[in-house]
Symmetry: C2
Subunit: 295 residues, 2 copies
């Protein structure tokens, strides 16, 4: 076979490319350092579960500045410390709250934030995705975030790992003291209905693998089922050595372009039928923890 | 307020409908018995995990008859008993295998099934979904299954809870001794690349909440991490009292029509912005366990 293969490639040059086509994961693994950008520690929340699990969340002040500011103020006043996961609904969301919703609100906290559910396209770099989206006129990537678009407005899509703000019935918008993360098929029906404050970059498995709540909507039926949160802290407020050095792939890079193309048409050897398209939430922006001398 | 509300409804009759619009879950809960059909016990697999969790799977012989026949033959020869979940990859699949892949194959077992990845539309009832699909010319519902379509061919979509056959590199198609279930954002890139043999109707949380494997692709790195399976049995082979009385909603019923419309445009009170569309995998066909005198 070793002798035959080069001859075949000579006869059918396409075979060489087909045989060598990298998978999306390989493209990500091989992406040069220049195709990654550091996430500023002011944009990172570090959640520590009481059992030691660490979840790193990138904040999205571009989309919900007031809600994000509230979440950060709660972090700086340690209101997440001693909080708990109170809801785990299969194929939907995992939800958590501050330690005590009766605690005094931190200075500058906005009790009734506006409905930050969408924003103007203007001011962000935007690239459309060339595949149809059942939830939007168009979908695309805006300054590194997966978004839907209608006219001049865009909104972050409620994809797996996206973190949003729980709320009551409208006009309530939530104030940030209850957060959720999507843990299943993207519930895009929530697009433009809830404020998105971020996305999980690392440690999602500490939330997604929690036992499902048995109450209505996956809520726990007994506080003893709640999963305690040790702390949720802005990375900028942590000692430098404890800050996760997270990077996200630049969505204007060649690597991301190749990753997107490979996600839409898998030509690595396992596949027999490339789809020729991909849904917005199936091109999560790759992230990684930068290797440091300590590693 | 009680006095004012009827007056408002009188002035704006639309408000009454808006206020009363049921959620998809309410539509399912209120669906009359005639809108449900029983799943034959010959089409149901009952998987018992060693810890007692029960997972009920509806088989899909319409789409992969040879693979399904293999899985059933393995069940009848008890080869799933003592099997194990060996892979749990976050936002992708949970995978399990028979007790011993070196065991003699049951009579009639087909070691090399054909690539049952798609089939003709002809012979099934088919209704298109009126929303665009990035993975297919069209998506729709064929005899109760969520499918993609291209020309006269259809295939089951790899949605959350769908059960497929693990395989090696093509032309291998898998023989049914390794199965997986989708536990995250639908990996539709797998459509037409793997044989679908069924879908989980009940007990998904026993698989989806398992701790994620830490090896490559979520495989366990130590057999002691494997999650033991007590048995996987065709419901028809169980004593009548132990057969789960599962029903799926008739997709030609008014209830399903209303459920689909509500999934595509949420008008129940929580929502402020109905999407106007829905993705194929976000309209899972509702199922329930029929209440019996024993309940």
């Amino acid at each position: 076979m070793r002798l035959i293969l080069p001859a075949l490639i000579l006869l059918f040059p396409g075979l060489a490319a087909a045989a060598a086509a990298p998978s999306p994961a390989e493209i990500v693994a091989q992406a040069p350092n220049a195709d990654w950008s550091d996430v500023a520690p002011e944009r990172l929340l570090v959640m520590k579960l009481a059992d030691g699990g660490r979840v790193v969340i990138e904040l999205a002040p571009e989309f919900a500045p007031v809600h994000v500011a509230n979440v950060v103020r709660l972090a700086r006043s340690h209101q997440w410390d001693g909080g708990a996961v109170t809801r785990v609904q299969d194929n939907y969301v995992v939800q958590w709250r501050v330690h005590d919703e009766a605690s005094p609100l931190p200075e500058g906290f906005m009790a009734r934030p506006p409905a930050e559910y969408e924003r103007p396209l203007k001011g962000l770099d935007y690239t459309p995705l060339p595949y149809p989206d059942p939830y939007a006129t168009e979908s695309g990537i805006a300054s590194g975030w997966l978004v839907g678009r209608e006219g001049a407005q865009i909104w972050p899509a409620q994809c797996y790992g996206v973190v949003g703000v729980g709320r009551d019935m409208p006009p309530d918008t939530g104030d940030g003291r209850e957060l959720y993360v999507v843990n299943g098929e993207a519930p895009r029906q929530l697009d433009r209905n809830l404020a998105v404050v971020g996305r999980v970059l690392q440690g999602m498995e500490h939330l997604s693998a929690l036992p499902r709540g048995t109450g209505k909507l996956g809520f726990h039926t007994d506080p003893r089922q709640d999963v305690p949160i040790a702390s949720m802290t802005l990375a900028a407020d942590l000692p430098a050595a404890l800050r996760p050095a997270m990077q996200v792939m630049r969505t204007d890079s060649q690597s991301f372009h190749d990753y997107l193309a490979a996600r839409a048409a898998r030509r690595d050897p396992f596949f027999v039928h490339p789809a020729g398209g991909v849904s917005l939430c199936n091109v999560p922006v790759p992230s990684r923890e930068k290797k440091t001398k300590h590693d």
